[in-house]
Symmetry: C2
Subunit: 367 residues, 2 copies
Amino acid sequence: MTTSSGDASSGLGPGAPGGPAKRATILDVAAAAGVSRQTVTRAMNAMPGIRQETRERVQETARQLGYTPSRFAKGLVQGARTSVGLAIPDLTNPYYPAFASSVVELATQRGWHVVMDDYGHGGATGVESVQHLAPQVDAVIGYLGGAADEAQAILGRRPLVVLDQPAGSASGGITFDYAHAARTALEHLQARGCRQLAYIDRAGTDHGAPEPVHDGGPRPGPGPVQGVVTVRGQAFARGAAAAGVALAVSVSPESAAAARQVTRRLLDEHPGTDGIVVFNDLMAAGVLKALADSGRAVPADCAVIGMDGIPLGELLTPELTTLALDLREVGRAAVELLDGLLTGSLNPAGPGTELVLRHQLVLRQSA
Amino acid sequence: MTTSSGDASSGLGPGAPGGPAKRATILDVAAAAGVSRQTVTRAMNAMPGIRQETRERVQETARQLGYTPSRFAKGLVQGARTSVGLAIPDLTNPYYPAFASSVVELATQRGWHVVMDDYGHGGATGVESVQHLAPQVDAVIGYLGGAADEAQAILGRRPLVVLDQPAGSASGGITFDYAHAARTALEHLQARGCRQLAYIDRAGTDHGAPEPVHDGGPRPGPGPVQGVVTVRGQAFARGAAAAGVALAVSVSPESAAAARQVTRRLLDEHPGTDGIVVFNDLMAAGVLKALADSGRAVPADCAVIGMDGIPLGELLTPELTTLALDLREVGRAAVELLDGLLTGSLNPAGPGTELVLRHQLVLRQSA
DNA sequence: CTGAAAGCGCTAACAC
DNA sequence: GTGTTAGCGCTTTCAG
């Protein structure tokens, strides 16, 4: 009666334990309840035109059979809800969940589903993440760290909104005005009277494989490194040059513990350092620790400015002065951009699809 | 606030800019390339039995048309990848992303997709989250905060793994041995010589609607409160009673800032408090702040023990002693449980589907 | 190597 | 009220 099945597992009753029973279809329910499949549909979807009694009987039958409508069949015939992929390098870095939270909230408001891929842990890249997401989603928002073109190619006509990297051929992009951020931080530090400034950058190219930097250079460790790779790092290097101030640049893996170590070495080599800007707040937490380790008072002996503006900063001691992004705003910008792309009010890579957001200096205790 | 485009975008042709073109189907590509739809399938999926030249021509045509295979049609015919829903109350609380990160990683390893729902922000409940997720997933893992039965009913035969709550009729569940945690913490504090202990609980029932505890009451704040609502709170109350020690219980909304305030009041009313256990690490951060505000040294004047073991604890000053859960382990447990349920090696609500995990006291500086 | 059939499970139209 | 007829877009047979 049902589909011809040669498999051994198919002859089992629906309640048979020991294996995930082959999913019941709408026809199974219809047969069991002695009605047509259409009636089952009406009963399951609370549609009108069906007697209450029939409805309940069908629902009961469905429950017993463990019937669940196939989301594929349903989607196929109804043109289902849009689902957007969210590619995130590392949920473990508080910056990203703060952003993701905002995206999920706003997407949910629009009735979208969010398929999350935290691709960093397996050592995957942004492109691989998009590849993984692609068959399942109608659009992607992501911190891909380069390769926007390749990602857009995978997605075809489906919108892609990339963050913190050049949009390239992506449908839309959100970047941050690091030149402005650098200027703001550097000026503030100078106004405070800081004279020996340092910047701690993140190792590895932006979100790419976190390969350590140097190309065979003799000095992999701290100290003024030429090979600043991140966009942020470059902005700070340029900003310092423009302002005519020296800036000792160190490079550290993206974690508080690593930043703490790197800062220790930095302080050994440049004991007079009295102002440090850090790649992000998480690493700044490590910097604060290192400063405390060395017996320095913050900000009296050395001021510290982080970047991101995550809630963590307020919990540190001293509380962290930081170049803050309103992460909920960033999420909103990304979702609204995508919304425009999806509804057609915005053209892919057209005007209005590249937003530039600015950091705001939030003064707390550390600088 | 930008998206109020009038509905002027509907009648446009497929190539017309300004509207999301009606999606090209496989037949469009076949027609345009002058082949049959089967050949298109072969070209798109890198299947054998097609000439290289034909393949490239078809792929090019597809690219031009912006053709993307419908994931529904594909899923319908192929029985696509399993996708699991992840219901999370609040990504903003560092506990959850740490857990989510682990789940996403392990799910991805298995080729699963993860649909994330961060349901807390909209003021939704766990059940609503499951309702939202249900049409899109084959299983759910979640911190639902009660109503496991209702959620399981929505899911039908699809597996549901609930965390930190009684499994009820859910397919599987992971709970934590709070009695053990309470005993451990209380013993440690007593061994340190703490005599006036306090516990700060989270306001509201477990993950239910985070109803604020009473606004107009004369004494919303600290003081020994009878109405301990959370499972953790009860465990601590019982543990203290069993050990014959007094425990001042306060209740605070789940944030560092709120905990800071509540702690201030607690210290006003019980100035001799010399040991505090806190509902979670995030709130413990606020407690630490309050203690510093009051000029107390930690742990000399008052010891503090948090709960969760999130990385944040190490960044605080002093570093937080905590009842730690290995969040990656919790994630692994949840995913493996689900895997067993999905493959049929485990029976829903059968033996082995209810795990109890224990906290481990991680001694750092605060106690 | 390529094409023509036959469904996958469901719901939107229409009959009855 | 309920059943019947068509497809949704795709991949699997199976023929040419």
